[in-house]
Point group: C2
Chain length 245, copies 2
DNA sequence: CGAACGTCGATTGCATACAGTATCCCGAGA
DNA sequence: TCTCGGGATACTGTATGCAATCGACGTTCG
């Protein structure tokens, strides 16, 4: 899960951190901390899986990955286990890790769950959004449209992710946001091949959604998001060639 | 080992398993396999956290846990990381694991997410349930009522969990079921202290829910589950003493 | 007397070593 | 030719070792 910065300014009884005055007003520009290796490895492997360098079904040998990444097996193991808990790989006992093979059924289930969560998210966002939030939403929306017109496939995916992600933030429900992030990432993995043709309609629907949020119209926001995700699901089912099975 | 760092070697599963015919019809009663230590450790730690032997905020030292459980640090590390990914502990870099401290806000968010997921689950269950399924539901319901009358607190929690769990199974959506299991388990952790007074009403509502499912009345099932989870949320907020903060 | 500094112990993070087990290859027998 | 072992191989699962880092305590200086 996300390495959220622990909201623990309090350090227990030994509160030695007395306000100095000289630094109290400054922004908490903390020093850059070297990321734990397991985190780096996790990111690297996730990237390799998402961009299909590691193909579904492929056997991931710890030693090979370790050598490839220039680390020992230990961080690789830890990364693999986290990848399993998030559905990217299957860890068969005494056999090792295999890149998860997405089935149509599973993709459909994921899309279903995503629809529910995102719909709820949209409703909450509509009920809590302020003007600044809406402004930011339009910013992201414009970035997406720009990417669309520039035919920037990469940027399009990012923009889409950022927009949805920001909406989940607006809900103020961190648990919900985390879950959506998890599900969305996997959906995108399955969905990437057909993202292109869907993109145009998608951004049009985004605009409607933002308008509903701006108007604090929870019912409409909910409805639009439900349609939006449901259409995505339809697009998945109507995709040209069924690659699985 | 692979000398060249070029594309990782193909390790695809070599399907040598030809159908024998003699066993093809038998149930896959596979031999009992010794559970991986990390799994055992995970279960043990989760249990210790849930029953409050390990208190929220407590620092979990790998070496101590390892000695206590009679294993090495390695399986403990792996278990702790999984516990983090599921929200039971916080892993502060270079400091170790601390039992997560649930805040009221987080509990509320979890209850909110649970409500959404369970509501969706109820609707799906109502749309797919067969007569056998409904019969099984009544079985579980009766078990719960029996535990209630016997004042069996332990059994009550289990029965409740099993009933909800079975409903999620009925949805046929494994992804949804997994997510609900995750969320429910944590909800129960926070919620345990106030479970008792809520139990009676709860089982009455369960009965209505099962009736709706039996009648394949998706709208009603959805509504009842929404009320059910929402009342649980209310009960949480109206609990006698606020222990947090 | 208070605050800053240096040292020490404790604990994590990573690497390596060892043991158990599943898989694969190959040869013997029906 | 096909099936059934035997043995070697490769990989995972677990344990241990080592260095880096963090927190705490005691000391010294203003």
């Amino acid at each position: 899960m996300s390495q959220t910065v622990s909201p623990l300014p309090e350090r227990g009884p030994t509160g030695r951190r007395t306000a100095k005055g000289s630094l109290s007003g400054n922004s908490p520009q903390r020093v850059e901390r070297p990321a734990p290796l397991r985190q780096v490895v996790y990111d690297a492997l996730a990237e390799l899986i998402i961009n299909r360098t590691l193909e579904p079904g492929q056997h991931l040998v710890e030693a090979d990955l370790a050598e490839y990444l220039g680390v020992s097996r230990q961080p690789v193991r830890e990364a693999l286990q986290r990848l399993q808990s998030e559905g990217w790989v299957d860890l068969r006992p005494a056999q090792g890790a295999f890149v998860h093979m997405p089935t149509d059924e599973e993709a459909d289930q994921l899309l279903g769950v995503r629809a529910v969560l995102e719909t709820h998210s949209a409703r909450l966002a509509a009920s809590t959004a302020t003007e600044e939030h809406v402004a930011r939403l339009w910013e992201l929306q414009n970035a997406g449209v720009a990417a669309l017109e520039a035919d920037d496939s990469e940027g399009l995916v990012t923009a889409n992710a950022e927009l949805h992600s920001y909406i989940t933030e607006l809900t103020g429900n961190a648990v919900l946001a985390e879950l959506i992030a998890l599900v969305d990432r996997r959906v995108r993995w399955y969905y990437t091949p057909i993202a292109r043709p869907r993109a145009h309609d998608s951004w049009h629907e985004h605009a409607e959604l933002i308008e509903a949020i701006a108007a604090k119209d929870t019912a409409t926001a909910e409805k639009i998001m439900a349609q939006h995700t449901e259409r995505t699901r339809q697009a998945f089912h109507e995709r040209p060639e069924a690659t699985q099975e």
